[in-house]
């Protein structure tokens, strides 16, 4: 087997007094679609931040494709959708995407921007300032921005937030296509149903630790829900 797309070994993260992750270890092979599940405050966002290199682990290490996440090559293959949108409100959608396409050195940027805008159904609003967008429209643009440079590893933190039924379907289709293209995806979501549809594998984080690492095909949605809820029994954060 190749070198894993992602290797997290013994990662802990704390913010002063507050603990966010406690010796988390797992690996993800290229092409896997992994859902990270857990309660509010469990540490999902922190885990994704540590993986993307936004946040440095207090302990332990992360490797992307066998090397440091801060490697230029790795960063070019990474897409992040986070709780923040990474967009400039005072620029139009088009200008935002143009900016990112230059930064990420996207070949044939014009067409690529067109494609992603069409994918998220925002083409007709591309000349409007992002500040005037509705919440769902902003989220769509965030998705477009993340997919723009055809990344190999996607870290998606609650990407369905604010999307309407139709857009959720659209994103599911988009993500399935990404998976077919062999891309590696890590997704956090509170929607177990969608997680079950999309992913091969799931991790449940509880109290800042991984308490379950299983394959979707071996578990029914109800089983996953049960795992999720049992893990949380009596949990009241740290």
């Amino acid at each position: 087997m190749d070198v894993p797309a992602l290797e997290v070994s013994g990662v802990s993260k704390d913010f002063g007094r507050i603990i966010a992750l406690r010796s988390v270890t797992f690996a993800v092979q290229s092409g896997e679609f992994v859902s990270v599940l857990g309660r509010n405050g469990a540490g999902k966002t922190t885990l994704l931040n540590v993986i993307s290199g936004i946040s440095r682990p207090s302990d332990g290490s992360v490797k992307l494709f066998g090397t440091d996440p801060n490697d230029r090559v790795n960063k070019a293959q990474l897409a992040v959708i986070s709780h923040e949108m990474f967009l400039y409100g005072n620029l139009t959608a088009l200008e935002n995407l143009e900016y990112y396409s230059r930064i990420y050195n996207v070949p044939d940027a014009k067409n690529r921007i067109d494609t992603v805008l069409q994918d998220v159904e925002l083409k007709h609003r591309r000349f409007d300032l992002v500040a005037t967008y509705s919440r769902g429209m902003t989220q769509r643009l965030t998705i477009a921005r993340a997919l723009l440079h055809e990344p190999k590893l996607l870290l998606l933190d609650e990407p369905f937030t604010g999307l309407d039924q139709h857009a959720i379907g659209m994103l599911i289709t988009l993500l399935k296509k990404q998976k077919e293209m062999g891309r590696t995806i890590l997704l956090t979501t509170h929607d177990l149903h969608t997680a079950a549809i999309l992913s091969d594998r799931y991790l449940v984080i509880s109290k800042h630790k991984i308490v379950r690492d299983g394959w979707m095909k071996n578990s029914s949605p109800d089983e996953i829900r049960a795992a999720f809820f049992s893990a949380e029994a009596g949990e009241n954060d740290s």
Binding site: S52, G53, I54, S55, R56, N70, R72, V73, N74, K75, A76, L78, V80, S82, H83, E84, M85, F86, L87, Y88, G89, N90, L91, E95, Y99, R102, I103, Y104, N105
Partner: protein, 223 residues
């Protein structure tokens, strides 16, 4: 190679000049700075002339602070600073982009302030005044090269604006002081042989500060 820096520069300038009113606002602001100074210092013309170079640079520094704060508030807004940390580019490139945009805006400000300054002080325009160009450039670059990296540091704190002043002003003060001296020489038409060595010294510090910041910017972005 420079593509990143240019992309950032373009984006910043585009946002700054989204509407043409911005430049008008800047112009009026610079006018106001002088009105404020002139009115609060109810002093004789002679005294006024003596403090003129200082006033000019105080005006530059304060408008520069506005520019720096504005530029980095923008990046903070939707987590864009974090987005920068994720970019597959050298931190130095990002630094150059922000540095250029801040510098251009500040130079523009100076270009607007200067004519007003000339008029208000009824200064004689002469060929010797062209010597001001390298002085303004050198002083401004010193201010912005440090200001850019320190803004990126201060933006992570709660009291961003005050902390930026605390960090930047002491560090940049030699450059400002020298620039005032140089400006004073030119305005009073007393360019001595000390002029060029001093200018060179400012230039040398510009180079040092710029290079250092260029190399360190990666660490500022990263967590």
């Amino acid at each position: 190679m420079m593509q990143t820096a240019i992309a950032i520069l373009k984006k910043d300038l585009r946002m700054e000049f989204r509407s043409k009113e911005s430049i008008l606002a800047m112009w009026i602001f610079s006018l106001l700075i002088f009105v404020i100074f002139n009115f609060t210092f109810e002093v004789s013309r002679l005294v006024m002339l003596e403090i003129a170079p200082g006033l000019l640079w105080v005006a530059f520094v304060f408008s520069g602070m506005f520019g720096l704060n504005q530029s980095f508030s923008l990046e903070k807004e939707n987590g864009n600073l974090r987005a920068m940390a994720l970019m597959p580019v050298d931190g130095g490139q990002i630094y150059v982009g922000k540095f250029l945009s801040v510098t251009i805006i500040m130079l523009m400000f100076e270009a607007l302030i200067f004519p007003i300054f000339i008029i208000f002080y009824d200064l004689q325009l002469s060929l010797g005044m062209f010597k001001l160009v390298p002085v303004l450039l050198a002083g401004t670059i010193g201010f912005t090269s440090l200001g850019t990296i320190l803004s990126a540091v201060a933006v992570h704190t709660r009291n961003q604006q005050i902390l930026l002043s605390l960090l930047l002003w002491p560090l940049v003060s030699p450059i400002i002081i020298w620039s005032v001296t140089l400006t004073g020489m030119i305005l009073s038409n007393q360019v001595t042989e000390a002029f060029y060595p001093l200018l060179l010294r400012v230039g040398a510090f510009d180079v040092i500060f710029f290079t250092l910041s260029y190399m360190l910017f990666d660490f500022v972005l990263e967590d």
